[in-house]
């Protein structure tokens, strides 16, 4: 479970994220949406322990991210928008390296299963320079899944992928949610989020302006149109900030 309470991130006088609170229960997928510069990535980085929050409390499966950092980090996986791999490590070596960092005892078996599931077995001994973007994304996913995290953060996971890869990634996320993993996805692809997310949080200039299940948000902001899509609601809510 992810529990965020009063998260605030300041850069000098600039407030990137202001008093953000929410929880994501196990098995739920929350979509974090907002126009460019709304603070999505900053919020995601704070919640995953990459950058420190200025104020607020973040708990990962009951572990305070600030006080019990390492225990909290053992339970999470963060997937950046661009898969960042080491040039000189093969796919299998990436998994071996990650296993040591997370102390995964049955790493060999899990690696084999993951490579099979992601159809990467044939590429196990290949360097990242020989992989397409989609394949690199799969390596990043395999590394993130290896230690069986209970919490996952995806920053723009579908950008730059072909339709088949998008479908597979969505299926993987849905499968992980079914396994009880709490997931947060930050994305601009609203129609795709509608398919995957159980609820949505909309940020505008660092502040939460809407939060709830898709039905709740539709009910709250449809303004007469009961078939409003998330995209229409989003544009209505963020107004002039959209498209910046």
């Amino acid at each position: 479970m992810i529990a965020v309470e009063g998260l605030t991130k300041l850069y000098g006088d600039v407030t990137a994220v202001s008093d953000l609170s929410f929880t994501v229960e196990p098995g739920k997928v929350m979509g974090l949406v907002g126009p460019n510069g709304a603070g999505k990535t900053t919020a995601l980085r704070c919640i995953s322990g990459i950058i420190p929050a200025t104020h607020g409390r973040i708990e990962i499966d009951g572990h305070d991210l600030h006080k019990d950092t390492l225990a909290a980090k053992k339970l999470l996986a963060f997937f950046p928008d661009e898969p960042r791999l080491f040039d000189y490590l093969t796919v299998r070596q990436h998994l071996e390296f990650t296993a040591r960092l997370y102390q995964v005892r049955d790493a060999a078996e899990r690696s084999r299963e993951l490579l099979d599931a992601l159809e990467m077995t044939e590429k196990a001994n290949v360097l990242p320079t020989e992989l397409s973007r989609g394949m690199k994304q799969k390596v990043a996913l395999a590394c993130g899944f290896l230690h069986q995290p209970r919490v996952m953060f995806f920053d723009e996971p579908l950008t730059g992928l072909d339709p088949l890869a998008i479908r597979r990634t969505k299926d993987l996320i849905a499968a992980k949610a079914r396994d009880g993993v709490a997931i947060i996805i930050s994305s601009h692809l609203l129609h795709l989020l509608e398919e995957v997310c159980s609820h949505v949080l909309i940020l505008k200039r660092g502040k939460k302006i809407a939060h709830g299940t898709l039905e709740e948000i539709r009910a709250q902001f449809r303004e007469g149109d009961k078939d409003s899509t998330l995209e229409e609601i989003f544009i209505r809510l963020v107004g002039e900030d959209a498209g910046k």
Binding site: K73, L76, D87, F97, N125
Partner: protein
């Protein structure tokens, strides 16, 4: 103004403006001041009239000497441009230029002209720089003649290189293999060599080595000059001499007299290049990609770009999934350095060198004080190689570790999510380069000790020498860590100041920044060594109270120094770890 002219002039003007604007940032302003001071103290002496730090001295009575030397250098460059190229003809375009200009309705000839025009800025700077370092700026008007002379030479060379690459491309398109072309060039060179020999035989005998030593190089230069000015060689070398002649004019009249012929040859090259309708686009795209990859790699702090043809490497050992986490970083670092294969090659080289050094030492024992010159030479070369390795490694290990850390910053998003404390990440990132560097130093030290035994048999029986070598060997790991910690800390504390992609280019401010970093590293290490020296000296004198045996005093002082340095290294790693933990990734994105 046409579009290409607009692109060239605006790019240049905007480039200059942006460099000036960034001087508002303290780091670039300081860098520029530091760089300006460096250039002033380095070249100011030349401008003030002193001789260049390196560059040709005028040889009295051999005015033709430098001219001939320059012509020979010129010829060598030109000959190499016909022998070396193995790839397709490529003009250097950026990826943006390719994206905008290649699909545009612009003729190939116009693109070539644009490329040549664009290269003028660089060539002019280079001509001025060459004039500066060859010590001609204190010559008043003559300095400007030199700049003009260098500019003609550089332009002609540049156009000849391009023209040659076009001609070679055409030959390839007509089915001529590279090896055939190289054989043809080598045969032509052999013909020229025969011509030189034929000319030489018809001249009086050259001055002996003893005579040359007595009269400087005057007699020898005059002899070579005579060969090159006799018979067909005189005509064969005429075009090359004509191009370099303006660079050796001492007054405007001589310069203007020599200039038309040089410009004529340059103009012929221009016509040759722009009229050669050769397909260079594919190779230009490939070359632009490589350059972009190189720049990206430099941006990550790497020395070279990773190409698609790289092969997977075998790790030195199999990494177990559990255990001390920093070991994973060492394992990764060793893989990056080439893995098991590279390490095996180094091991073989070390064993071969050590065996050679051992053989030399035995030879030294058998014939003490009476070694053959060949043995002395080989021993000297290996020994000097070892000492140079040691000296260079002192600086390089620190720089390499800091580069490793900078690359780590690029993947900080990932590193920050790892469930290990910052000090373990810092230790892991530094340990790889430090461990490899120390291993190399130990090898060099071991071989150097063996070589020392070859020269001075007495040293083998002196217990102090192995003791000192052992002390140095023990001192090195902690020292290397200390050397690595400061540049690494600088990277984490002032990431904006230590961005290699922004500071590695040319320019006064970048030169200044690089110098500041180097000086900062040396000062920091010097500061770290103060307590080491203090406590080492204290231990020396304290031991002297109990014993008068020099070895025990040295052991006590060395041991204390190593202990203090090791403690400093540990504290340094802990400090780096806290910097890692506090590092704000958002400032880097």
């Amino acid at each position: 103004m046409n579009a290409l002219g607009y692109l060239v002039t605006r790019s240049f003007a905007n480039g200059v403006l942006s460099r000036l604007r960034r001087l508002r940032q303290p780091k670039y302003l300081l860098g520029a001041l530091f760089g300006a001071a460096y250039f002033y103290f380095y070249f100011g002496r030349i401008l003030g009239g002193a001789r260049a730090p390196f560059g040709p001295r005028a040889i009295p009575g051999t005015a033709l000497g430098p001219e001939i030397g320059a012509a020979i250098l010129f010829i060598t460059t030109i000959v190499l441009s016909w022998i070396l190229p193995a790839s397709r003809a490529a003009l250097a375009f950026t990826e943006a230029e390719i994206a905008f200009l290649f699909p545009a309705p612009i003729s190939r000839r116009t693109l070539v002209i644009m490329r040549l025009v664009k290269s003028q800025i660089v060539l002019l700077f280079f001509a001025a720089f060459m004039t500066l370092i060859t010590g001609r700026f204190h010559l008043g008007i003559e300095a400007w003649l030199r700049v003009g002379g260098w500019w003609v030479i550089m332009n002609t060379l540049n156009m000849h290189r391009i023209g040659a690459s076009f001609a070679l491309q055409r030959l390839r398109e007509r089915g001529m293999a590279d090896w055939k072309r190289r054989i043809a060039v080598v045969l032509a060179l052999a013909g020229v060599a025969m011509l030189v020999e034929y000319t030489r035989r018809n001249l009086p005998a050259p001055p002996g080595i003893a005579a040359t030593a007595q009269s400087g190089v005057t007699a020898l230069a005059a002899y070579i000059s005579q060969i090159l000015h006799t018979g067909p060689l005189h005509y064969l070398l005429a075009p090359f001499r004509l191009v370099v002649l303006p660079n050796f004019a001492h007054d405007p009249a001589t310069f203007l007299h020599a200039l038309p012929a040089a410009l004529g040859i340059m103009a012929l090259h221009f016509i040759w290049v722009v009229r050669a309708d050769v397909s260079f686009e594919d190779a230009a795209i490939e070359s632009a990609k490589k350059r972009a990859a190189f720049l990206a790699a430099r941006g990550r702090g790497e020395l070279r770009a990773q190409t698609g043809s790289a092969k997977a490497r075998t790790p030195v050992w199999r990494l177990r999934p559990t255990g001390f986490a920093p070991v994973a970083f060492i394992w990764k670092s060793l893989l990056k350095s080439g893995g098991r294969r590279t390490l095996s090659r180094w091991a073989v080289l070390f064993i071969a060198l050590a065996a050679g050094a051992w053989a030399l030492r035995i030879a030294g024992e058998r014939q003490p004080g009476n070694l053959p010159p060949a043995v002395i030479w080989i021993a000297a070369v290996i020994g000097v190689g070892c000492y140079v390795t040691l000296l260079v490694s002192f600086i390089m290990i620190g720089q390499h570790s800091a580069a490793q850390l900078r690359q780590g910053i690029a993947t900080m998003d990932l590193l920050k999510t790892y469930p290990i404390p910052g000090w373990q990440i810092a230790l892991g990132e530094l340990f790889g380069p430090v461990a490899l560097g120390t291993l190399m130093q130990w090898c060099a030290l071991g071989i150097a000790m063996l070589i020392l035994g070859t020269f001075a048999t007495a040293t083998r029986h002196m217990p102090m020498v192995p003791l000192i070598a052992g002390g140095i060997a023990l001192f090195l790991p902690a020292f290397n860590f200390s050397m690595a910690i400061f540049p690494a800390a600088g990277t984490l504390m002032f990431p904006g100041w230590f961005r290699p992609q922004e500071n590695s280019g040319p320019g006064l401010e970048n030169t200044g920044l690089r110098l500041m970093m180097g000086v900062g590293q040396l000062l920091a290490v010097a500061a770290a060594l103060i307590p080491v020296a203090f406590f080492g000296a204290l231990a020396w004198f304290a031991a002297g109270k109990f014993t008068q045996v020099l070895e025990w005093q040295a052991l006590s002082a060395g041991g204390t120094a190593i202990l203090i340095l090791a403690m400093e290294a540990c504290l340094g790693v802990a400090w780096l770890g806290s910097l890692y933990d506090k590092f704000d990734v958002s400032g880097e994105s």
